[in-house]
């Protein structure tokens, strides 16, 4: 039986989401850890007024990206623990469906964690992160992060001390993404128009496209036995 590419991707994503609904491991981990991170940073930096408001975007993205490495590690470790990755590799579908399916799953979980985190950071730092245009920044940024993150979690999967390795591999590559997300969020949270954040949004789109291409070209080599 031949399965279309998109249906295969969705099947992998649905499997991840079903596990997530039953365990809540990834969402709980990412959300609670980033909430904790934001709280700790708030105490450590001790910012007031305008300074706190300007720091909110940076705190949101930095904590989400740090917490994301935990979730991504979990997502791939789960595959390996149950021998599930071997099963996926044997499936008669293109290998990139594994990457995209898992990236879609990570994207949805991380996106939900961000939506749940935004009100708390808004309150803690006195900023207004609950604006519709921010969904665009969040979507583009999380998409790129989930893609690169899933890719590199696969790379780290067979290495020793992968829990330590994934953040070391992923965060330098995510720096351009981080900068673009933070700047765009700052502009939009301050009430700026979408056009004012255009430069950063364009960077996000290009980053996503480039990483999509790189991931598609190299993923086969990353999951090879």
């Amino acid at each position: 039986m031949r399965v279309s590419f998109l249906r295969a991707v969705w099947a992998v994503a649905r499997k991840d989401l079903a596990t997530e609904v039953r365990t809540g491991e990834m969402l709980g981990g990412v959300w609670v850890f980033s909430l904790l991170g934001a709280f700790v940073l708030g105490l450590a930096l001790d910012l007031r007024g305008d300074a706190a408001r300007e720091a909110a975007a940076g705190v949101l993205w930095a904590t989400v990206m740090l917490a994301g490495t935990l979730g991504l590690n979990r997502s791939l470790a789960r595959e390996q623990a149950g021998g599930c990755l071997d099963g996926l590799r044997l499936a008669p579908v293109d290998r990139s469906t594994i990457l995209f399916g898992k990236a879609v799953g990570a994207f949805l979980v991380m996106g939900l964690a961000e939506v749940l985190l935004a009100p708390f950071i808004s309150v803690l730092f006195g900023a207004d992160l609950l604006r519709w245009p921010l969904l665009l920044v969040g979507g583009l940024g999380t998409l790129g992060y989930a893609l690169v993150g899933t890719m590199l979690a696969t790379v780290a999967l067979r290495a020793r001390a992968r829990e330590v390795l994934l953040p070391v591999l992923l965060l330098p590559i995510a720096v351009p993404l981080l900068i673009a997300c933070v700047r765009a969020t700052q502009v939009l949270a301050a009430g700026g128009a979408l056009a004012a954040a255009g430069r950063w949004l364009r960077l996000l789109v290009v980053y996503d496209l480039v990483m999509l291409a790189v991931a598609m070209l190299t993923f086969d080599a990353a999951v090879e036995e």
Partner: protein, 202 residues
């Protein structure tokens, strides 16, 4: 006999390279300290440039070699390409460290601070982290072929992400976006065509 001959030849080449390298380095040092004139505004501090810029060039170029040899490795699977890529990363780490050190000394003497949010300093520091990550990944994988494969994947990913550093001009970014867009388009088309043709599994 053949192997021994090769060894002798390699030994000779290495010795010659060392002699030539030492000579050229001494000449360069003499030029830097004795021949080059004293810069008008910065004074002798400017002589750091002769080291710093060269360190930085090698530091960035070495990772380009790692990225390209990684890509070629994934195509040809030749062990030599992996050796080239990993040695290049080790050389690059040394040079980017030297570039950071020299750059930061220069910044202290010129701007009055060791570190500032200057784009070139930032990308050099990022490059250092990328080298560290690449070498850490290699050390954490035991199987040589898997190490080569994963190293190559990471090398390629890194090399491409370097072009996003925000200090790059908007025109450069646009040109890059166009080039990558067309590349991606062509590649996606080929992929979709192949999927549509029914070559789904491998």
């Amino acid at each position: 006999m053949h192997v021994e001959g090769g060894k002798v030849k390699a030994g000779c080449t290495g010795f010659l390279l060392a002699i030539v390298g030492a000579g050229v380095m001494l000449a360069a040092l003499a030029m830097v300290f004795l021949v080059a004139p004293r810069e008008a505004t910065m004074g002798d501090v400017q002589r750091i440039f002769y080291f710093h810029v060269a360190f930085a060039w090698v530091g960035f170029l070495a990772f380009l070699v790692t990225g390209v040899s990684g890509a070629l490795y994934l195509v040809w699977r030749a062990q030599g390409l992996d050796w080239l890529g990993s040695s290049s990363a080790e050389v690059g780490l040394v040079f980017i460290s030297a570039a950071l050190l020299a750059g930061s000394l220069w910044a202290r003497l010129t701007w009055g601070t060791y570190w500032t949010r200057e784009p070139r300093l930032t990308i050099s520091a990022l490059q250092w982290l990328v080298y560290a990550a690449y070498l850490m990944l290699r050390r954490a994988v035991d199987d040589p072929q898997r190490r080569a494969r994963l190293g190559a994947v990471y090398g390629i990913t890194d090399e491409l992400h370097q072009y996003f550093v925000p200090s790059r001009s908007a025109e450069g970014l646009d040109a890059l976006a166009d080039a990558l867009g067309s590349f991606l388009g062509a590649w996606l088309y080929a992929r979709v065509a192949r999927l549509a043709a029914g070559a789904v599994s491998r």
